[in-house]
């Protein structure tokens, strides 16, 4: 099987080319250099690792993303690379290709101030139902379609109700709105701008909980057993809703924007590579190179345990041997993308270059966290040192996690500007 050959081929390369040199970033300011255990090391004279964690670290280093966007890319080679990215993501996500079990069905509608909220159900499998909410501004219908429609994908632990500015918990929309939703009410914010806004749940969360528990790890584990993933299921659920959106006469199918917050940026990017019909993307998180994060976040806690790479909810085997998040955003060019919460300028330069190759440099816009908005306030690193803990990593990549929220003040004007073009 192909995946087997890929690994074997990668391992063969690994055995030949691995350099164990620890990347040195001259400007990185951390105290990890003084810690003997912060970096995965060996005390052997031959430099070989006894520890299996060291073996695994070496293996991951030896398998850099095969499809990474690099400086050698040209205008001519860019489209073929995009196609490879699309194919790789299609393989990884493994969305079922069987026809939908049944079309989505409207189950409820409630009026709100200036829009209504409809509750719909989709049916990803014959034994499963996944509800979603649709916010339709007053006056929008087939004869007066909305100028844009937003597919809103929430962050970790958020519900579709929160995004819609509704109360969660009983999921019947009878409680008349959630005054506490604030910035998180991404879909309501969009609806108030006159756009159709659809809010979905991520698997295992909110109404998709089991036994009242947000058991995303258990669900992820079972999905991984059968060769799927939490992200694969998320992308499948969201794709069914996206396809439904394309058929609605109350909106312009050429102006569907996917808006992801935090965890929601992952299915957003997966759908982005796989679905050319999506018009634009709102990426509301810091832009992370996940493979690098795993490799450098090795500083043990007070008990001597190194940080566990992000939870298995984020595990898609071989994903990081193919590409990383900045590569995926680069491959969306020339379609408009806004990144609202910064990251490393290195990664933004990469994406900007992709947009230049695609002939649309203005279609990519990014903003740093306010704390890092001034260039002198942030670090501009090409490489990160190993031996970081989570906070040190965040500091080096300009991530101000306490200010992590939906940046409507950046996104809404950006979308208005897009629609005026």
């Amino acid at each position: 099987m192909q995946i087997h050959k890929c690994l074997q081929s990668n391992l063969a390369v690994a055995a030949m080319v691995l350099s164990m040199a620890v990347p040195v970033a001259a400007t990185a300011q951390t105290d990890t250099a003084n810690s003997e255990t912060a970096i995965i090391t060996t005390s052997r004279d031959d430099g070989r690792f006894l520890s299996s964690r060291g073996l695994a670290q070496g293996l991951m280093k030896a398998m850099p993303p095969r499809l990474a966007f690099t400086d050698v890319m040209t205008e001519d080679s860019f489209p073929a690379w995009q196609q490879q990215m699309e194919q790789a993501m299609t393989t990884l996500m493994a969305l079922p290709t069987t026809p939908a079990v049944a079309p989505p069905r409207l189950v409820k509608s409630v009026e709100r101030d200036g829009y209504r909220v409809e509750k719909w159900e989709s049916y990803p499998f014959s034994w499963a139902v996944v509800p979603f909410l649709v916010l339709i501004p007053d006056g929008v219908d087939a004869s007066a379609p909305a100028p844009a429609a937003m597919l809103c994908i929430p962050g970790f632990g958020q519900t579709k109700e929160l995004l819609a500015g509704e109360m969660g918990g009983d999921y019947d929309l009878e409680q008349g709105g959630n005054p506490e939703a604030g910035h998180a009410a991404m879909a309501r914010t969009y609806a108030k701008e006159g756009w159709v806004a659809v809010a979905v749940d991520n698997p295992s969360c909110g109404e998709l909980m089991d036994n009242g528990k947000f058991d995303y790890l258990n669900t992820s584990r079972v999905l991984l057993e059968v060769g799927w993933s939490y992200l694969g299921l998320s992308a499948y659920q969201d794709k069914l809703v996206l396809d439904w959106m394309k058929q609605q006469s109350m909106l312009d199918p050429q102006r569907i924007i996917v808006s992801g917050f935090s965890l929601g940026t992952e299915p957003m990017m997966a759908l982005g590579l796989m679905d050319k019909d999506i018009y634009a993307f709102v990426y509301n998180d810091f832009l992370c190179t996940t493979r690098e994060r795993i490799l450098v976040m090795t500083k043990p806690d007070e008990n001597g345990n190194r940080p566990f790479p992000n939870s298995i909810e984020h595990l898609i085997p071989t994903f990081l041997t193919l590409f990383d998040f900045p590569d995926i955003v680069a491959a969306l060019a020339p379609r408009p993308v806004i990144c609202t919460e910064g990251g490393l300028d290195r990664d933004f330069r990469k994406i900007s270059r992709a947009y230049e190759l695609a002939g649309a440099p203005e279609a990519f816009e990014y903003h740093h966290y306010p704390r890092y908005a001034d260039p002198s306030a942030r670090q501009d690193l090409e490489t990160l040192p190993e031996g970081l803990n989570r906070q040190e990593f965040f500091n080096l990549v300009n991530c101000d996690s306490p200010s992590h929220y939906f940046k409507d003040h950046l996104v809404v004007p950006w979308i208005h500007k897009l629609l005026e073009e």
Copy 2:
């Protein structure tokens, strides 16, 4: 890619054939029937699951192992099925096919009562070293080779030193033996019988720890990222040692037995399918159908959390959609296997039938735990009910976990008998 097509094809079948009927085992005695939440359920009239855990449960049910040994197997179809099993395991384990970095090297030798312990190093990658211990009975050499040689793979948390009856901790063999090792000293037991015994570490354990931590989850996670697995690495490390054993003139390469305790039965089975040179197998654990265990162990704990399927150390994506442990043992026929700690008679009947098809019914021997040795003391179930916790599962499959230890009193006579044939 193939794995993608497999999942899509499986999902297609799933969408068509899934029956959500809960298996009923008339003889199963548990109190779970009274618990509303023990089973993953839905309160919807259409029977559809809202919970993602229910969706995932349905998906796993819809993807039974494609290569399961079934009643329709005949003498004629058996060899082709064995070949499919071998190919599937080879794909899953993805062992590097590059030549070994360097041959294993002897680094130390100490004398013990009736045998000597040699410490060797193997080099699975250019950046990694994996030591192993070799116990050589006095008088055994190229001119008087041992009648058998055992590759001993430890259980979870055990070290090669424990198996060799040595003290762990500093791994230098200078402490002169471990009087507390008892039954766990599998390799020492074999050496005292006059057989060459090799003891290995499982990844991340003992000398392969990182920063003094048995960090098998962290290592597993990184391996899964690059498309490998803890079991894949275990099998690779053990395979290098096995190949080294075959070249030693102090033993008969036609009489190499792999002896696995608990976790160690997993690489033993993987190697068994992939390496026809192995003469026989000691399976020292209860025989578990892991997929069934995941599907039925759904009873929430006092906090409402369902049991997490066994840790990601055991995760090999798609493994359980291909086969389960009893199928693998069945595919080892006609090579001798002893199972020492019981399980469901259903599974032993399956394996016994495979050995009959292979023309060697006497080559498979199994024993139940003493507590379940009397047929009237154990349950003989064809299916297990959902809604079990771990202890209820163990009770139903005749697993007496407090009596889980290396059953030398069963294994040693069995090997002597084999060697006399």
